[in-house]
């Protein structure tokens, strides 16, 4: 197990390097000018050139990359061009908020998805299966920003039960675990949970349906094992694949919630990323993408390790 873990950790290094190169180049390719965010648009060409030099944006790309990566390995992600604040402060503050949202959505989505998936797999081809299938396809198909708006109109605008935006009455910096704050989390978390509910339930349905038809299940019944014990075996067999899907979904939830965070004005990494894109805030853009990508890599690593722990066969591959 330890050698497997070391092998996987070593593999992370080239991936992380590749991610850093790609995210640096991607943001440089986009047309636009980060100085737009910090200078009046009619600043003279001379003033623009001075500012470009001050931020090192006049240097060739390889040198800009070398400076960036050099600072990065020393723990310095630079400063946001638009806000002047340290990128690390901006990114980690936003990632913390996104993690809160993603974890809440996962807490809602994964148990529901697994339960519905098992239900549909166990009662395959029955009306239960059809209902769950319809529900999960709807979940995957409905644009979640649209659903978010509808939920806002019903529960915020019309009923006045839940707030429509923000991360608490005093902002995310003053977050507390009480209803006054948690109520801000309800609508975005529910909206964000809809897609993973559909994906997880479809995956678990397919897995459990397949496993239930295998010979060893019949053998377990033949040995006189109870239905609950048999299902436990089925669950364990399905767990490795289901876990990997859920791990990937958690990564998507963290990095892929730009629309939801925009609709609900949630101060997370997606919202930060969207603003950084519009402002061409290169250091912030690079930092945010890198952190999210590395989080994704880390999630994959964790999933691999947990899978290996559950299913020893994986360690040998």
């Amino acid at each position: 197990m330890l050698s497997y873990l070391i092998r996987r950790l070593i593999l992370v290094l080239p991936v992380a390097f590749g991610v850093s190169v790609i995210c640096f180049l991607l943001v440089q390719i986009a047309p636009g000018d980060p100085l737009t965010a910090i200078m009046p648009i009619d600043a003279t060409a001379e003033e623009q050139a001075a500012m470009r030099a001050a931020y090192g944006l006049d240097k060739p790309l390889p040198i800009q990359y070398a400076v960036w990566i050099g600072n990065l390995v020393q723990g310095d992600m630079g400063k946001s061009i638009a806000s002047g604040r340290p990128v690390a402060t901006e990114v980690f503050g936003a990632v913390k908020n996104s993690l809160l949202l993603a974890a809440s959505a996962a807490v809602i989505a994964f148990p529901i998805g697994v339960f519905l998936g098992f239900l549909a797999g166990y009662f395959q081809e029955s009306w239960v299966d059809r209902c769950v299938t319809a529900l999960s396809i709807t979940g995957v198909s409905v644009p979640n920003y649209w659903l978010g708006i509808v939920l806002v109109i019903i529960f915020s605008v019309n009923l006045g039960w839940l707030p429509s935006m923000g991360a608490g009455p005093g902002g995310s910096g003053a977050w507390e675990w009480d209803w006054l704050h948690v109520r801000h989390l309800v609508l975005p978390a529910v909206t964000l949970a809809v897609v993973p509910i559909g994906i997880v339930s479809r995956t678990v349905r397919a897995l459990s349906g397949d496993i239930l038809t295998q010979d060893f299940v019949q053998a377990l019944y033949a040995k006189g094992m109870s239905r609950v014990d048999v299902l436990r075996h089925v669950a364990r067999n399905a767990a490795a694949t289901a876990l990997s899907v859920m791990g990937l979904q958690l990564g998507y939830l963290l990095g892929g919630s730009i629309l939801i965070e925009t609709v609900f004005n949630w101060p997370g990494s997606g919202f930060l990323l969207s603003n950084a894109i519009f402002q061409r805030d290169l250091p912030l853009l690079q930092g945010t993408i890198l952190v999210l990508a590395l989080f994704f890599v880390a999630m994959n690593l964790i999933v691999d390790v947990v899978q290996a722990a559950i299913d020893p066969r994986i360690q040998r591959t």
Partner: protein, 533 residues
């Protein structure tokens, strides 16, 4: 995003919310801004007009300010931290008498040394207080300033590089922050950002970057008429229009800036108040005057202006626009009395096009640079399609080149001759046109031809240049106004732009918000507002 907005409006209407469920906050006004972040808090704000509106003239003052007290007349300059100013016989040296007894929020006195210290903050990169971020925002606003000196506590002189009678307008940009506070914050502008100190009517009490800023009244403010009546002013960045609308309608904010036009009927139907007024903004096509541009023919320019049914465009914007009659809004003090009327007259437009050699069998094709969104651009796609259809009526076929807003700004700076604009002969750019420089000079001054300045179309005309020189050398305010009017008359009579419309700065607010007077200005006064419970 417009389809997204329309969907929201339809759903919002269907939802028919009840106003009675709104949360109440005694004496607190919560505003949803369009900005994605709290504007820079240290003094010289970023984020354009919105930054100055919410974090500039609230926390800070300038030597000379805009009069924001009236909705009925154009805004003019009034004394701020300077009570009096005059220019010497050399037409270069200005003497300012400063207001006595003014203190910063931290209690330190405001003197002529404070002004010198603030100018150094922007212009002298060897001074310890030099702040590149504030300098980036402020330096280009005061191009005339050559030197400055504190004569005594209440007397300041500023020398300009050349005679420039627009200096007072330039100074209205420059906001005064406190040296004592900067020193107390370890001379660190990042620390000052969290706890700034100005002389303005509001003090920044709480600041959560990207999420909220809370301002409380400065009860010691030097102008009794502008001491805030509210207990608190809360600013919340809400860049997404639908999120702003939902926040207002669910009672999380009391006021939103720039509601999307298609959400306005739903808001009005539910008792929310829409405030709007003319202000110095325009939505134009800035035309290329390079050799070979079809816009070099005044007949084509006039015909295009007369082909646009601006009244017909109004429903597209929910009525929230002022049809353009020139470059400046008709209510501007500098509008003058132009002889050319760009009002809709299809027959006259076609006659001009025929005279210019065009017709149904000999159509003119032009290429126009537009953006799908952008600050102040209103609803650029449908509005440009409206213009495209209007021009087709006079045999002008418009081919659009659509670029994202940030790139559009680059192409605007690059100018019509730059290869990156791919031969586009116009750019749809909206303008802040509040003072003589931003309103008139910068667009057509031959010394500012792009990329050195913002004369995008490479326009050059000795007569116009002479008018610009006279604006700068006419120191008597009344005479200067007359020159500004003449200049604008030439803008219109020569049909130098495709004049389409002016925005009216709509803002939606809960009915409990009382006492707001929307000045004809990019900035506003929040001091007279109350919340009626």
């Amino acid at each position: 995003m417009s389809r997204f907005s329309r969907g929201f409006a339809a759903l919002a209407t269907a939802a028919a919310m009840a106003c009675g469920t709104l949360a109440q906050a005694q004496g607190t006004l919560r505003i949803g801004m369009t900005a994605a972040d709290i504007p820079l808090t240290t003094g010289q704000t970023d984020q354009g007009g919105e930054g100055m509106r919410f974090m500039g003239y609230t926390v800070y003052d300038s030597l000379i300010e805009w009069d924001l007290s009236s909705a009925d007349k154009p805004s003019v300059l009034i004394p701020g931290l300077a009570t009096d100013w005059s220019v010497g016989e050399d037409e270069l040296t200005w003497t300012f008498t400063l207001r006595d007894g003014v203190t910063f929020h931290d209690g330190s006195p405001f003197t002529a040394e404070s002004v010198v210290w603030n100018f150094d903050k922007l212009l002298d990169d060897s001074s310890p207080q030099y702040d590149p971020r504030q300098s980036a925002q402020g330096k280009s606003r005061i191009p005339a300033v050559a030197s400055y000196e504190a004569i005594d506590d209440l007397t300041l002189t500023i020398t300009t590089k050349e005679p420039d009678a627009t200096l007072p307008y330039q100074l209205a940009w420059i906001l005064m922050s406190s040296r004592a506070n900067w020193e107390a914050m370890d001379m660190d502008w990042e620390k000052v950002a969290m706890s700034p100190s100005g002389t303005g009517p509001w003090k920044l009490e709480t600041f959560v970057p990207r999420e909220r800023a809370e301002l409380v009244p400065n009860t010691e403010y030097w102008d009794d008429t502008r001491i805030p009546e509210l207990d608190k002013l809360v600013l919340i960045p809400l860049p997404e229009p639908n999120a702003r609308a939902a926040a207002l309608m669910s009672g999380q904010v009391d006021w939103i800036e720039a509601p999307a036009p298609d959400t306005i009927p739903a808001m009005q139907g539910n008792g929310f108040v829409i405030s709007s007024n003319a202000y110095p903004h325009n939505w134009t096509w800035h035309l290329s005057r390079l050799e070979g541009s079809p816009w070099n023919d005044i007949r084509v320019r006039k015909a295009a202006n007369m082909a646009i049914d601006r009244t017909g465009m109004m429903p597209l914007l929910g009525g929230l626009m002022v049809p353009a009659k020139g470059f400046l809004p008709p209510s501007s003090q500098w509008f003058g009395e132009p002889t050319f009327d760009p009002s809709y007259d299809l027959d006259a437009a076609r006659a001009l096009m025929t005279e210019a050699g065009f017709g149904p069998d000999n159509r003119l094709t032009v290429k126009a640079l537009i953006s799908p969104s952008g600050s102040g651009q209103m609803l650029p796609l449908p509005m440009n399609e409206f213009v495209q259809q209007s021009l087709a009526e006079i045999w002008i076929d418009v081919e659009f080149m659509v670029v994202e807003w940030n790139q559009m700004i680059n192409l605007w700076r690059a100018g019509a001759a730059d290869p990156a604009v791919e031969g586009a002969q116009s750019i749809n750019f909206t303008y802040f046109i509040q003072d003589p420089f931003t309103g008139l000079i910068r667009h057509l001054d031959e010394n500012l031809i792009a990329p050195n300045g913002t004369n995008w179309g490479h326009y050059s005309d000795p007569e116009m240049q002479e008018l610009f020189n006279r604006i700068k050398t006419t120191f008597d305010p009344e005479e200067q106004t007359a020159v500004l009017q003449q200049t604008h008359e030439k803008f219109v009579d020569d049909a130098l732009f495709l004049f389409v419309t002016h925005d009216v700065a709509p803002r939606a607010m809960a009915p409990k918000v009382k006492g707001f007077v929307q000045a004809q200005n990019w900035y506003q006064n929040f001091s007279g507002i109350t919340i009626e419970e």
